[in-house]
Structures are given as structure tokens and as C-alpha cells.
Symmetry: none
Subunit: 204 residues, 4 copies
DNA sequence: ATATAATCGAGACGGTACGTCGGGTCTTATA
DNA sequence: TATAAGACCCGACGTACCGTCTCGATTATAT
């Protein structure tokens, strides 16, 4: 097998990389994911197609990294705040707070369009899906795990409950309504989810 | 605007329709959704491309109807059994039973490949998504609503609980793990979901 | 070999035939021969496609008959006058007169477009070409043969000359200029042709 | 109006161009012009369709250039001989010689099929027609003009004769018989044409 | 400071599939 | 039985992008 010589990452053009991210995100926002083409990204970024194929394996790959970059930037800009779940001692209130922020994000077009595109791609394309989950979704879910563990320590959640499963009781319903449009999304809705879920995992 | 005259549905070839459904499902199973092309469906079905474009608007549309047809057929063949949730009086047991059947279905390649494809398409394409939910997903979810209502009547579920939301506590986690591969799927897992969820919606 | 049962000509719809001729000629005039389709002829004539294919073998065939019909009609309307070459005793004058009429016809769009289309078709399609020559061109050329024979009788043309070849000296140059656009067409030009042909180009 | 940026001719693939010419000529020879498709040319040439559409506007355009190329090659191979009309002092003999060569060419399938196709296309398509005449036909006709001018100098042709018209007396009849199949083509025939044209058909 | 080797913008290339058009056949219901 | 209507199978159209492949023209170290 003839292996292609790996490109020399140290000589990579930072300017091009950024332009490609920007072009990819802009195009996905403007024309949607399926109509976004590698050719158009290259043209919009003022970049040769080969420069894209040299560093990424596919359109999905470009968008994944572009979105990760966007998320990282957003995180830095916002300080760290939204990325830790508050621990005021009132578990229900803390979860409701965080889920309301998530609701806002899910309805913000700046995030919605690319993340919906990546989610869709990930449903079909296992590789993209795993990377999407591993690098974006799971780290966020782990924050819930931590918060639930802390709640177990303080006695607000039964000790025999598996936090990784428990969090799905309120996170997954929201995710499904958003992904598959099985119902409307609102603060009321997420509040209700937390109420229903907590009574189940709380000791009597 | 020039509107194309609607084709005369009474003269439609039933044989072609069936051949197209079969070809579409077979191809999606064999090469996956993205590599399934309208051209290949037509060729495999022994049909002109125009016959596909005359009756459907897109590859997604064909697959949606093919899958609906498959589901309807499966329903008829199976009598009605899997399509009503049993009511033995033991809510937890009944839900666990049905969810185990769902787990089996989700892992059966015959259903998994096309339904995953449709789900992915529906994430991006709102029209497909809505149709998918309306004609396939929601009818199944309504079965849970009925069963939960019956449980409310018998006192096994609190009366102030919204059954349409409550069902998401155990259905959505399973759906998300399947769609986004956020975790493994098993009987144990769904049993646990039912346990966690029920204690929350059951009266103290 | 399975032979198709010949259609019963006695039951043929005269109205349809005429409508097809009219539609074919109109379309060729409006959009040109290559863009004239059997489908469009049928639609414009208010006729089923099968009715065309039942009686004609091809688009060229339809147009050929439509044009012959048109020519026949034109002949009847005009009495017989333009279809006999005058014989005033002055051969040169007579030929010049007729050729000037031909020039007019060649520049009249009503005749030019369809006859150009048929000529082109006939260049490639031997069957159409032969029919075109046999039923339209040759009969007209024979008129020149007659006139030249008469001139031979009166001593205006040498007796050892083959009239069928001689007529080409002035007819073919005009035909070629028209068909292939190798030069402009005018009364002067045809007059000159007659002069050269009759006297020759070598000095006496 | 959105104009497509002209392709960069300096980067054009010479190999592809040649393969396309060869494929076009071969196909026209094998299946005839109307059944020759751009798709088939591309396939036979081992070339993408876009490569054809990038450089030519139509099937006719491809064939025109292919044929011009063929003619140019034939000219080079043959030295210069057939492309100058001999001047032995005997005008009639010289013309008969050249016309006999033309007869041979017209009956040689290698040239006949594509040139007939181009002629037919040129009858309908003015652009193709003009190019065909300008780049192929007229240059050859100009050779006759030169020879006739030389004959005028030597007194073999009257000085008041227009050579561009005079040449049509023997060239056009041959052309028409070939194009429209109005009669057989032979050495005898062309010899006769030269005789008639030079001496006229009227008695001295 | 210069060589030199890789990346870069550009875009032509061989392909695959698109969605449309029209050819010629076949079916259905009127007349 | 011929007809108007039009669905059907098929093949080609001309276009859009794919991912690969040259091309000079910049870089950006490593001499």
C-alpha cells in the first residue's frame, strides 16, 4: 500500500484554516448543510480545494472542527460560566437553570444550524457521530454526572442511582424534541422534566 | 408560476410502485443511505427515472413511503400484537416488556438502517422530519399515553402528571442512545429507565 | 417476425391529419427544426402521440408530407403559372425570369425554414433525401429539361448537350449558395449565372 | 447576465483533445452523426463529459474542429499537392484533374461521413455553416479563383468574367449531386461539367 | 541571505449522479 | 377500431460537485 506522505503540520497556514472555518459555518447557515459544498467553502474562503482535502477528510470533518472551534471560542469569551453546573445546594433549581440555558442555545440559530447538521451527519456516519459525542456531547453530560454525584453526597439523590443514566431522564427528552421535532421546547417543559425526574431518583 | 399538471394517480402502475419500494429498501440496506441514488433505485426496480420523479419529490420521500409501507405490512403480518401496549395491571412490567421489544427492533438491521436514514434526513429536512414523526413516531408514542392514562385511572400514576411528557422519561433516553450513540442499549438499561422514571411519577 | 397490423386508412381522421401538418409547419417556423418535437406537434395539434406514430415514421416524415401538402396547396392557389417555365423564344430571358422567382421563394421565410430543414435532414437521411428529391426537386428540374429541349429544337442550345446536366450550371450554384451560404443571392447573380452558362466563360 | 469565466487554455490537456477528436470521428463513422452522442464521445475518449463541454459548445462544434484537424493533418501528410491546382497551361485538363480528385474524396467514406454530417448541420445551424464554409470550403474555392485568374492572364478565360462565380459552374453541380443525391457522380460527369462551363452550352 | 522544499490558490481533469426532456410503446376511456 | 390522453421504459442531455492531479507563486525554515 502506498501511503501518502503526511503533510507537514508546522507549515500549515493558520489564515487559511480560519478562513475555511468561517466559510463553512457561514455557508451552512446560509444555504444549509446539504447544499454546502467543499467547492463553495474553498471559493468563499479564497482557498484551493486541495488545501481542504489536505487537512480534512470530508465536508463533515471540516464542519465538525469548525464547530468545535466555534464552541471553544464561545467558551473563552464567556469566561467559564456556562460550562460548570452551579451547585447552590438546591439540585432542582440548579438543573432547571442549566437546562434553560440549553434551551436558549438550542433556539439560537448561530448554534442550531451547524449543530443540527452535525447531529444529522452523526446519525448516519458513525465516525462523525462518535467524534461529535466524544468531543462535544459527552463532556457536557459529564458535568451533570458531577453535579449528581455531589447531590448523592449531600443526600439529595439516592446513592444506588447511576448518575450517567439518571441525567438522561431530563436531558434526552429535550434532545429528542429538538432533534426530531417531536414537541415544543420551553422553560416550562424543562422545568417539568426536572420535577418528574428528580422525584424518581430522590429517596422517599 | 408554471405549475406542472398533476399526474393521473388512477393510471399509476402498482407494480412499479412496489418494485421501487423494494429496490429502495434493499439498496439502503446494502450500500447505506448516502450511496443510494435515485438512478440506482430506478435501475434496480427496472423502472425509468421519470417514473420516480413523477410520484416522489426526492430520494428521502421515496424512502419515507417505502418505510411506511414496510411498517404497515409488518403490522398486518403480525396481527396487532406489538402495536398495543399490554395492560396486565403491572405498569412497570408492561413498559419493560414493550421497551425490550423496541430494543430488539432498534438492533434489527432490517429496520435499523432505513429508520436511521430517515431519522437523519428528518433532522435536517423539516418536511421529512415532520412526516416521519407524524406518521410513524407519534402514533407509537400515543400508545404510551393511553397506557399511562389507564395507569392514572388505576392509581399507579399521579393524576397531575402529563402522560405525553412522562413517557419521554424512558422513551427519549433510549432514542438518544440509539440515534447519537451516546451509550449502549440493553434490556438492563431500559429496565433501569422504567424504574427511575416510575418512581418519579408515582405517588408517594 | 411479428408484423404490426397495418392501420386502416379508411378510418383515418382527416381533421387530425390537417391539424398535424399545420402544427408541424408552425413549430418548425417558430422554434426551428431541431427543437420541434413530436410531442410538441401532438400537443399543438390536439392529437395523441400515437396518432402521429401510427401514420408517420418520424418527425422528418411528418414534415416532408406537411411540406408537400403545403406545396400542392400553393400550386393550386396560384393556378399553374409558376410551375411551367415560359417559352417566349428568348431562352436567356425565360431562364432569368424563372430563376428570379426561385430567388424570391428561397428568401421567403414561409418556404425557407421548412425546406431548409428538409434539405438538411435529407443530407443525412438517405430515405428522406431521396423522397425530397424525387417528389419536390426533380419535378421542378424536369421543367428546365423540357425548356432546354425546346431550345435545342429551336437551335438556341447545341444538340449534343445533355439538358439534365446543363441545367445544373445555373441551378446548382444558386442551390449551393442558399444551402451552404457560400455567397449572397440576388437577381444579378442568377442573371450572371445564366449568361455564363449559356455562353461559356471562355472567349469565342 | 452571469458569464462563466473562460477556462484557461494554457492548461488544456492536449491528450484529451486528441482523444476526443479521434473518438468523435470514429463514432460518426460507425453509427452516423445523429446517433453519435456527447456521452459516447466522452466515454470512448476516456474523458469526462465536462471536459468536452468546457471547450466546445456542442456536438457539432466538436465534430467541426475534429474534421478541421483531420483535414489539416491530411494536408501535412500529403505534402501540399492536392491543395494547389496544377497549372499546365491547359485549363480544361487542370480543372478535370482536380475535380477527379474531389470525386474520389467525396466517395471516400473516411471523409464523406463527417463532412456530410457537418454540411447537414451547417444547413440548419448558421454558425456552424459559416465556420464550415469559411474554414474549409472557401479556402478550397479560392484555389479555383487563382487558377481562373491565371487563365484570364493567359487569355484562356474572358477578362470580364468573375472567377468566383465562374468556378461555381462546375463546382456547385458536383456539390449538389453529392449533398442532395440529385444524380450520380463520376469522372465523366465532372469532365462534362468542365466542358460545358468553359465553352458554354450555346452554339458558337 | 539563500537555497529548497512544502504549502498555497487556482482550476483542469475523469467521474458519478442529478433532474429534465423527448423518443417510441403501451394502456385506458371515449366516440 | 381509431382516437386523445398520458404513464411507462429508456437514453441522452447539460450541470454540479466529487476527490485527484498538475501548475506556478508564495512562504518559511535550514543551511
Amino acid at each position: 500500500m502506498v501511503k501518502k506522505p503526511a503533510p507537514d503540520a508546522t507549515r500549515r497556514s493558520e489564515k487559511s484554516r480560519r478562513a475555511i472555518y468561517a466559510a463553512a459555518l457561514a455557508l451552512v447557515g446560509e444555504v444549509g448543510y446539504p447544499k454546502t459544498t467543499v467547492e463553495a467553502i474553498a471559493a468563499r474562503a479564497g482557498v484551493g480545494k486541495q488545501t481542504i482535502y489536505r487537512w480534512w477528510s470530508s465536508k463533515a470533518d471540516v464542519l465538525l472542527e469548525a464547530f468545535l472551534d466555534l464552541s471553544a471560542q464561545a467558551a473563552q469569551e464567556a469566561g467559564q460560566e456556562p460550562y460548570v453546573i452551579p451547585d447552590t445546594g438546591d439540585l432542582a433549581a440548579d438543573l432547571k437553570t442549566v437546562l434553560r440555558i440549553t434551551v436558549d442555545q438550542l433556539l439560537d440559530p448561530r448554534f442550531e444550524v451547524p449543530s443540527r447538521a452535525l447531529a444529522a451527519e452523526g446519525v448516519l456516519n458513525e465516525q462523525v457521530g462518535r467524534e461529535f459525542v466524544e468531543r462535544l456531547l459527552e463532556p457536557q453530560l459529564q458535568l451533570y454526572v458531577s453535579r449528581l454525584r455531589s447531590a448523592q453526597d449531600s443526600g439529595a439523590v439516592r446513592g444506588d442511582v447511576d448518575p450517567r443514566i439518571a441525567l438522561e431522564l431530563f436531558v434526552s427528552p429535550l434532545a429528542q424534541r429538538w432533534l426530531q421535532r417531536t414537541g415544543p421546547i420551553s422553560y416550562d417543559y424543562t422545568d417539568t422534566l426536572v420535577d418528574y425526574a428528580l422525584r424518581g431518583i430522590a429517596p422517599r
